[in-house]
Amino acid sequence: MTEPILEVSGLVKHYPLTQGILFKKQVGSVKAVDGVDFALRRGETLGIVGESGCGKSTVAKMLVNLERPTEGRIRYKGEDITKLSGKALRTVRRNIQMVFQDPYTSLNPRMTVGDIIGEPFEIHPEVAPKGDRRARVRELLDVVGLNPEYINRYPHQFSGGQRQRIGIARGLALRPEVIVADEPVSALDVSVQAQVINLLDRLQAEFELSYLFIAHDLSIVRHISDRVGVMYLGRIVEIGRDAEIYDHPTHPYTQALLSAVPVPDPEAREQRDRIILAGDVPSPTNIPSGCRFRTRCWKAQERCTREVPLLAVPEEFRRVSGPAAHDSACHFAEEKRVVPPGQRPPGPTDDLGKEGP
């Protein structure tokens, strides 16, 4: 196992809620991210899944320093980057780049593609000296599968998938080591999504990139990720290798999330054991005590209101070394298989009935 390139510990982001115009009084806070730990290894793809409001995009913003964390540390190659400023911050930012969700709003409509992709060089002239920039941009266009002749066109002259390629080219311009991709394909049509996913895969191999891949589409996350973390209301509730999470989930939220994803096969309709959660996600201004999932959990007991479950390998799995032994923040963790997305549903002879190791 290689050393982590990015290490996040105790990451917290609270946005204050204030009342009054002249004398602002804090009346509470939105706990967008409330204690997140993970490590991203070199060359790896870590997928983060979760529903809207779970804090996954806020984590992404803090990693690229668009938001300052309230608490916690983000270490890039061992160095805490949350307190950096000036030149040191610029160097780190060069190495951690972001690809945004919406290719329609994340590109300036008044700039040509060449200017958009070349803009990072203005801030980091050491990467490409002035005379060399157009050539670099052409090269980048070619790398992401666009015709280098398009350098003088404007964003509106491109389709959604092509624009996302432009966004990726901009992210690559400074030759970063880490790319944070926040829902990079969710605005695209199904037939174009696969093209962009393949491009991201190819670029990772070519430039030895590490990806933090944030999305809500579970089958796409599985396809691209080596490890997957599941977030709920500001925290990671379960994290592990992709097969551990998808085939051997032990946290009830992960199980419900996986079982709710529609499987693209009508034969699966009858065979599926769906867990329909009651109610909505609680407000991040008023997080339930103890386990934050307990208000929607069918297993919740008195202990769950008192004790916050820690993200660790649950006791009952500690002695075994099977795929169920991965970090899961639940007092009553148990393995339950659901038909995971991306899997053709099992025939009658499949091992669905069998217990895990």
């Binding site: 529903e51 809207s52 389709s159 998938g161 092509q162 049509d189 199904v190 037939s191 174009v192 999504q193 696969a194 093209q195 996913i197 393949n198 895969d201 809500h216 579970l218 089958s219 796409i220 599985r222 396809h223 992709d242 419900a256 999330l257 709710a260 994803v261 529609p262 499987v263 693209p264 096969d265 009508p266 034969e267 699966a268 309709r269 769906r274 329909i276 959660l277 909505d280 996600v281 995971p340 997305p341 991306g342 899997q343 053709r344």
Partner: protein, 324 residues
């Protein structure tokens, strides 16, 4: 047949030219049946639905041909005031984005009650009682207290329930749901789809579900119509199409879903982009992106060939596609 769309053609006049959004679409839905209309953006799936509902923006839109038979009557021949009586009472629509489809300055009770005041001539008080009943029916907790609340006070899932309640209010025979769960999170999406399916059974309604999500289709549909560039390219009972698609576009869509056994491999991707509707390629509209395209595909528009009893495919080479 409850609804039969025959050879519908819709175009939009824009500054840059005429966009041919719907080019001869035919489909039918029976009572109690769910037809999924599957397609990507620009395929014409929503425009067809808007034409059926009679809410197409005219101009710039224009219906240039075809018939929409609803319970035997051609809706396109009705006068606007007759059409208005059908809309809402006999067919209703659920939109993707509940927040922008609801009026932000009216309480949800007023909006639900308005249906009964306008169509049924009820008093405001009776309408309010009906509104509470409806909210109960779509399982909104504490309906009596919440009937005075405004749309922004509800969560996304609850707002979509209100949209469903509004569509069901007058017990229509047909519901058109245009991407009803696309804006919702998966766990809430499952709740809403379940509710919709249950109510459909209860009222024995016809349901047209417009979506781009192959997973949602597999979950609820009886039959599928796949649209591309304003045409239906394949229509079939839901089980057949997932087992063996008879059109290369359908096959491409199914193949581009990441599957477990393909991890670490390149995903299948349909090459190229959907066509510009102002400049649809001659012959089969899919031919520039099709791995099976031959010379005939570039010249002759494929008719909807009969594959079997209920299956149709608009591909000259549907046999090869089916058996490949």
């Amino acid at each position: 047949m409850l609804l039969e769309v025959r050879d519908l053609q819709v175009e939009f006049r824009t500054r840059d030219g005429i966009a041919k959004a719907v080019n001869g679409v035919s489909y039918a839905v029976d009572a109690g049946e769910t037809l999924a209309v599957l397609g990507e953006s620009g395929s014409g799936k929503s425009v067809t639905a808007q034409a059926v509902m009679g809410i197409l923006d005219i101009p710039p839109g224009r219906i240039t041909g075809g018939e929409i038979l609803f319970q035997g009557r051609d809706l396109l021949k009705l006068k606007e005031d007759e059409r208005r009586k059908v809309r809402g009472a006999e067919m209703a629509m659920i939109f993707q984005d509940a927040l922008s489809s609801l009026n932000p300055v009216l309480s949800v009770g007023d909006q639900l009650g308005e249906m009964f005041v306008v169509h049924r001539g009820m008093s405001r008080k009776d309408a309010r009682t009906k509104a509470v009943e409806l909210m109960d029916h779509v399982r909104i907790p504490a309906a009596r207290e919440r009937v005075k609340d405004y749309p922004h006070q509800f969560s996304g899932g609850m707002r979509q329930r209100i949209m469903i309640a509004m569509a069901l209010a007058l017990e229509p025979a047909l519901i058109i749901a245009d991407e009803p769960t696309t804006a919702l999170d998966v766990t809430v999406q499952a709740q809403v789809m379940d509710l919709l399916a249950e109510l459909q059974r209860e009222y024995h309604m016809g349901l047209i579900l417009i979506t781009h999500d192959l997973g949602v289709v597999a979950d609820v549909a009886d039959r599928i119509a796949v649209m591309y560039a304003g045409r239906i390219v394949e229509s079939a009972p839901v089980h057949d199409i997932y087992k063996a698609p008879a059109h290369p576009y359908t096959r491409g869509l199914l193949d581009s879903i990441p599957r477990l056994d393909q991890k670490g491999q390149e995903l299948y991707a349909i090459k190229g982009l959907p066509p510009n509707l102002m400049n649809i390629p001659p012959g089969c509209a899919f031919n520039p992106r099709c791995p099976m395209a031959q010379d005939v595909c570039r010249t002759d528009v494929p008719p909807l060939y009969e594959v079997s009893g209920e299956r149709r495919s608009a591909c000259h080479f549907w046999r090869e596609c089916l058996h490949d």
